[in-house]
Symmetry: C2
Subunit: 227 residues, 2 copies
DNA sequence: TTGCTCCTCACGTCACGTGAGGTGGC
DNA sequence: TTGCTCCTCACGTCACGTGAGGTGGC
């Protein structure tokens, strides 16, 4: 969106035009609502018109992404962005390296042992071993939230007569996807600064969301005569 | 869900249990809300408990499907179901055979031409041709809602530098999945009665939902170090 | 008898949309 | 000057969720 030479900000309507290609649910009233809720704070002209500078638009884009791709409610988005505002502006370098397995995003970090995963999923010991044999669960003795999702889905697949070996294709496919996504973000991932790693995380999250949509759309299309 | 021999209906809690495998956003308060809004009218016991007979559960399932898969607001669903109530109860035989591509479940049946799909997705003509070349969209000149989902996701993938040929793997994988699901339901699918075809549709929908969960869980697990 | 399930009714909430009535900018 | 964009403020709405206070069923 080329800016006119005499202005370095966008009006609310211009912001709408700039964002609606990316976010089909954006609206003027939504942008005003987000300001009323304290999520954005654009400057004003003398006569009260909102002025959106590049960082304002970037922040809006981030909010809309968190809503769309991570189903995050506004209250959570507000808290998280407030936390980032307080912690610095992205140019810090002196923070102690966070431990690799500590989730920076405040995820509940489920940790179950084998018995816990069996109880949670309803799988038998043998069935879980089958999933581990085919690479769907990595058998470290400690299982996280992804393992719970996988185990529960597998359990219900088994009810339909699907066997663990059939599920191997998920492992194979996901490996190919993950390799593609890693390749896509690798130019940024190899940079050292902390802003780069946040950008990688954002990109990967969006790619995961796109993957789900692509997979779902294609699968429904394939099966439309049975649906 | 096996019914006890002395009852031929389900309580609201039993309905919840029966439906939540298929619809993860169903709740007791939601079911009660749907009654308050006039979308369902279960009978009551002498003491006021709701009684859900098979047709009530079927109607609920239909409402939830229209919400989830066709993003239909309740007002529209209500009007549509009211129209169908007036037209007959599903046991008619004198209706002219519906044409094979007419959706039996009242889907809005999005139909776009090529220009419409391009406008809706933001893809260029060449990009859409690329998707068609790699089998993601079947180029009949008429596109449905699945094509819109696919095209929009593809558009955003392209923004990330993914090329149409990379997306071919979705086609390949989905073909394998679809073949597995068809094999699973084939014993029932070969029966002739109409109840069988409804059961096939229900099973396939659940398999699609399980597929999404399995895929999502495995992909997030694979990429956890980048998330 | 004891939980557990279910009931109603009022109110709350989340994320906006609508519309009246008015001012500002190229 | 004339549309067009933008402004506020009050109210509406959609789809539920919550919680109090109470009754029913194995």
């Amino acid at each position: 969106v080329p800016l006119s030479s005499s202005r370095d900000y966008l009006s609310i309507g211009e912001v709408l035009d700039a964002l609606r290609k990316e976010f089909d649910d954006v609206s003027i009233s939504k942008i005003r609502f987000l300001e009323a809720e304290g999520l954005i704070s654009p400057e004003r002209t003398g006569s009260g018109y909102r002025k959106f500078y590049a960082p304002d638009v970037a922040r809006l884009r981030q909010i809309l992404t968190l809503q769309r791709d991570h189903f995050m409610p506004l209250k959570v988005i507000r808290d998280r962005l407030a936390g980032m505002d307080g912690a610095g502006d992205g140019t810090l370098a002196a923070e102690p390296e966070p431990s690799p397995d500590a989730q920076s995003n405040g995820a509940p970090a489920v940790e179950l042992d084998r018995a816990g995963l069996l109880a949670e999923s309803g799988l038998s010991d043998d069935q879980l071993s089958g999933l581990e044999d085919f690479g769907l669960i990595k058998e470290p003795g400690r299982y996280d939230e992804n393992d719970v999702v996988i185990a529960k889905a597998a359990r219900r697949f088994l009810d339909h007569g699907v066997e663990p070996r059939h599920l191997r294709m998920y492992r194979q496919f996901v490996d190919r996807e993950a390799a593609l996504f890693e390749q896509i973000v690798s130019p940024v991932a190899h940079k050292q600064d902390p802003e780069a790693s946040r950008e990688v995380s954002r990109s990967v999250k969006e790619l995961v969301s796109l993957s789900r949509q692509m997979h779902d759309g294609a699968l429904r299309a394939s099966l439309s005569d049975l649906l």
